[in-house]
């Protein structure tokens, strides 16, 4: 992807579409990244999830258990999958960095499941 332009300012994304500089993030940038991953426009529920993920990452330095997110934003279980199909899209829109060992796979393009570094 490389780059998006928000309010005339060029913002760098890495090769997989993750925001490179954390300080670049704001709601405008989020909306623009959302467009890049075909989630547009962002609605209230999606924004709640994204804000929660940002706070979670700040505190825990990790990817959250998805139903933990739903519980804390008071949305039904599976909310991240329902709102974003691929939960990694939410992470990208939240402007958070690619994490080692966290990726989602789908064999049908509809149901995305996390495959982590298991033991």
């Amino acid at each position: 992807m490389g780059e998006i332009t928000v309010a005339g300012k060029k913002i760098a994304l890495d090769e997989d579409g993750f925001l490179i500089n954390q300080d670049d993030w704001n709601h405008e940038v989020a909306r623009e990244i959302a467009k890049q991953v075909d989630i547009a426009p962002l609605d209230e529920e999606q924004l709640e999830i994204i804000e929660f993920m940002r706070n979670y990452y700040k505190k825990f330095n990790a990817f959250p258990i998805l139903n933990y997110v739903c519980k804390h934003v008071d949305q039904p279980k599976q909310c991240v999958n329902n709102e974003f199909i691929n939960p990694m899209k939410a992470w990208k829109i939240a402007g958070l960095p690619k994490l080692s060992g966290v990726h989602f796979v789908s064999v049908d393009g509809k149901n995305y499941l996390m495959e982590d570094f298991p033991g």
Binding site: K77, L99, G101, D108, L113, G119
Partner: protein, 543 residues
Amino acid sequence: MAIVKVDKLAKSVFQGPSLMTGSYPTKDWMEVPAVFKPGNFAYPAKKEKVEYMNSQQGLSFPNAREWWPEDDDWKLPENWKEIIINGLKDRLDKFRSLKIFMDCCVRCGACADKCHFFLGTGDPKNMPVLRAELLRSVYRNDFTLAGKLLGKMAGAREMTVGVLKEWFMYAYQCTECRRCSVFCPYGIDQAEITMMMREMLHLVGVGINWILEPASNSNRTGNHMGLQPHTFKDNVDFLVDDVENLTGVRVEPTFNRKGAEILFITPSADVFAEPGLYTAMGYLILFHAIGLDYTWSTYASEGGNFGLFTNNQTMKKLNAKMYAEAKRLGVKYIIGGECGHMWRVLHQYMDTMNGPADFLEVPKSPITSTVFDNAASTKMIHISEFTADLIKNNKLNIDKSRNDHVYATWHDSCNTSRGMGLLEEPRYILDNVVNNWVDMPENAIREKTFCCGSGTGLNTDEIMEIRMRGGLPRANAVKYVHERYGVNTLGCVCAIDRATLTSLMNYWVPEVTVAGLTELVGNSLVLEGEQRQELDEGLRTLV
């Protein structure tokens, strides 16, 4: 990575040409080069990960660099050949088994069609005998008289860059599952041959990221996911809340508690993502039900050990935290959770690598007083041994009907079945916690179990097609019991399995879900003071 439609791939596996060459073999295998293309190789380890590992005490991961399998030039160190040959010499001197395995194969071919990767790819170099020949040919050339004199006539060939690339291709299309070894009249352990090839590739800076990154995380934070202590605890606490929601019972796990009787260690994936989370809820419920005096550790917070898939030194270093933490906390012994390769390390190597653990006691169940003499030396027992003993002594209050939504079959995870002989305990547990379960056909279970196709760190999505091909024999057996008996759940005791079999089932047999054994145990337990809701899908029910 896009993957072809299921019916097309199924046809191609059975009728199509070799995946490697796109044709039926016409040339001698030595003349067919390994060709890398998107989808047939796992991404190389990132330079900074290799550098990090190399900087750690006791570890050696030299020649860190950027390189790419599709490129002609892998930027190998100038004296790469010398490094490999010396590496082979060292290992032949150190491991008598390797020397024997190099010498004793008579190429009978009994192993050839026993490999899931051969069955799934049709690539002759995935026949275990031929995969071993990739190394054996070099061994003959440099270390045997016949090879030195007769060369190719004696099956010898010189080590070249092409051979090295072939090693990389096929050492990473082997999951070290050892099904072939069951059928080998000499008992040649193909897993050890693959391990040696991978070790030697690391000497010249060739490895894959999906293995080295969790290994480095584990070295840094204690677990593959890189979870810090407060995150690990917070994740378990979330599961405690979920258990309370479902059962009305508040379980109270402790962390890093000195003086606990037992230390519990499981793969970090169990507290990180579905479906492992449900298995972890099962542990919490089970231990609460029997009032076990145990503790989790946020340091020894990983059962898995990706060192097993890189080299001996890494395996030893990553494993050391188990005994170290047991000693620090002053526990009597260790119970280990549901993991496959973890148990190969514990069962076969831990005692001699990092033992003797003479500060621990021979495991004795505080509930039944059963002494686990089988673990007299390692001082660590498998959760299934522990649970089966509880059931046998009638210490659990089980309501089987709670699992009536389940019609199960049993996947013997390679490392626990072939590696440690854990064949009866899981079946005994299933007999007692579910009303409906059935075994797959006999050539696909117990010692002859088929691999998930994604073990030994090959569970990365850039090689999804190869994984689905390698997993086909397993999926095929599941499909059989699904169609015949209506099986809807594939049980297992392995974290890699739980993640990768889920993808495999979604692809080949989407009607079947994957569950850890302790998830089914936990769901069947009647707890004191419970206020259990109607749980149509057991611990997975959305409430």
